[in-house]
């Protein structure tokens, strides 16, 4: 069995709002990724997927607070480490991050090269500037980015170029886990393709050992990642391989999410698009029992009464529903007819 790059056990983090209310945006989440694998996390906006990305790095700023659980990166538990140790030894080197809005992710008044220097000096204060420059030039060349970009200010780069520069900087120290939070959502189709290709190439060449890719665009995940996890209201509701998740979703929420995708195939126009009714719950006081119950058309009174744990079935597949897999499949089948 391949080495586990990232293992997360029962991670819980919360936001404390201005009015001193607690919002549990990540609620007992467990996951693991092996070397060379990539994991997609999908969900509606507000389901806690971006918070999960921030929480995984073990570096917390108010209003986000760590509550409990373990984050194990390549065998090292980082959840108990001092913030400054995390900053120095984990961020950028073990876990790296690509932010949601890369357009503004770079300091507008700083040359890209100066920022690269700051990033590397944060982990290795003694590295001579000349070496850093060589390293940056080499990496940019390898990734097919123009070297001149390094001598420019962020304001002088185009949107797509900025995003690719951000990816290059994030991965410059060859991190073990790369967390990409909607890296391509704000880009046009061409730039989007370039970004995806770049990430795939980096995975293949081993420049990054594993990747978590967060998005609300499910078709994209099918093309990019090996496994997919679906999040709802701060919890994981289902996990499986990309293929399984797209063609055989078990949890009613996953099913609904897949059902609302438009796949450009023969006959799509006749297919009924099923939108999930209702809105995601307010995490300030989540519903008791199954959190999806209020929007689930198969829900019974029991669903809202008791809390539901994730259940395993098949190889590495998990889901969080009261019904058995067989029962669910039966229901779906009867619906088809």
């Amino acid at each position: 069995m391949a080495k586990k790059m990232l293992e997360v056990r029962d991670l819980t983090t919360k936001y404390i709002t201005r009015f001193h209310e607690d919002v549990y945006a990540v609620d007992h989440v467990s996951l693991s990724i092996e070397e060379g694998k990539s994991l997609g996390i999908a969900g509606e906006s507000g389901c806690g997927k971006s918070t999960l990305a921030l929480s995984l790095m073990g570096y917390y700023f108010p209003p986000l607070h760590y509550m409990s659980g373990d984050i194990i990166v390549d065998g090292k538990n980082i959840s108990g480490m001092k913030p400054d140790d995390v900053r120095k030894n984990i961020l950028g080197t073990e876990i790296a991050y690509i932010p949601q809005a890369a357009m503004n992710a770079l300091n507008p008044t700083q040359k890209i090269m100066r920022f690269v220097e700051d990033v590397i000096h944060a982990h290795d204060p003694k590295m001579p500037k000349g070496d850093i420059h060589d390293m940056a030039y080499k990496r940019f060349e390898l990734l097919g980015l123009p070297k001149e970009a390094l001598e420019k200010h962020a304001v002088e780069l185009s949107g797509g170029m900025k995003q690719r520069v951000v990816i290059a900087i994030s991965t410059i120290l060859s991190p073990k886990v790369l967390i990409a939070d909607e890296p391509s959502s704000a880009l046009d189709v061409t730039s989007q393709k370039m970004v995806i290709k770049m990430l795939r190439d980096m995975m293949e060449s081993g420049m990054i050992k594993s990747m978590i890719f967060i998005t609300h665009e499910l078709p994209l995940l099918y093309n990019v990642t090996d496994d997919i996890m679906v999040m709802y209201a701060g919890q994981i509701v289902e996990r499986g391989t990309a293929k399984e998740m797209v063609f055989d979703p078990i949890h009613p929420y996953s099913k609904g999410l897949m059902g609302s995708i438009i796949v450009p195939e023969e006959g799509t126009r006749d297919k009924v698009l099923t939108a999930i009714p209702g809105t995601p719950p307010n995490l300030k006081n989540p519903p008791k029992g199954c959190r999806f119950a209020p929007r689930c058309k198969y829900a019974t009174p029991t669903c809202s009464a008791m809390s539901i744990e994730t259940k395993d079935f098949g190889e590495g597949r998990q889901y969080r529903c009261l019904m058995s897999v067989r029962k669910i499949r039966e229901v779906y089948e009867s619906e088809q007819q």
Binding site: F61, R87, I90, T93, A101, N107, D118, H153
Partner: protein, 335 residues
Amino acid sequence: MQGYRKYFTKKIIWFLITFVVAVTLNFILPRLMPADPVSAITGKLAAGNADAKAVQKIYDRYAEEFGTNKPMWQQYLLFIKNMFRGDFGTSFSQYPRKVSNIISSAIWWTVCLQLPAILVGWILGNVLGALAAYLRKGWDKVLLPVTIFLSNVPAFGMAVTLLVLFAIKWKIAPVAGGYAFDQIPNFSWAFIRSVITHYQLPFWSIVIISIGGQAIGMRSMSIYELNADYVKYARFLGVKDRKIVGYVFRNAMLPQITGLALSIGTMIGGALVAEIIFSYPGLGSTMYSAVTAADYPLISATTLIITIMVLIVTFLLDIIYGFIDPRVKAAQFDA
């Protein structure tokens, strides 16, 4: 390089046009009034003088100097010509001193007082504003209302308060003037020390006033920058907090240069009035005595000089800003 040249040419042309407008306003505003300035002067001057002949003589003399007996456009040309020669006529209240003479002795006091004071106020204000934004919570809660309050004390109010406390109550600073009365301006140590002690109160009263406004502006800018995406990104790459604060401070401070350029015209008004309170021998006091004595030539020259000074400072700040903020470079130079 092409971009730079275009940018500066544009700025210089702009500066020249503003200059012409300012000078023209200075010329035309007093002449829009029903009575021409010369008859106003002679009216005041002749108030105690019954000899009609003498009044006529005075009138003729000033009419000659300002050319009020000529058509408007000739007066304007004369005004411009005299201005470039540095000839602003003869003062009426300090007759027969030349106005240029009075101005040139006052101008350095004002420049040496106001420029450093506004600059120090600007720097301190920015540091305080950044601190308030960075520390937030307790500090901010106390600091912000206090700064808003301080920034609303009028400049003359701050000047009077400092004067009464330090010069009259505790007697640790001199009451008035730019140097002690028994001193004659020279380069001796005693004179310089006298100048420095007289400098303190006017200087700090202007500094304290300008701190407030700058700090409030800087605080909002810094809060805005602290929430920017690049701060979050740099943090998640493990960049040290000190470095990040550096980025934020720099980015928030750069637009403050434009802020300073825009507010310098307003600030100078308050600062000039502060000079009056301390009887500081600068342009503010000169203007005050000119107004009190209805000395038209002196008023006209003082306002003109102040306008030109503000224009130059604004222009320089504009140029500096264009050089050091790449955001402007990207927006202006390539366009």
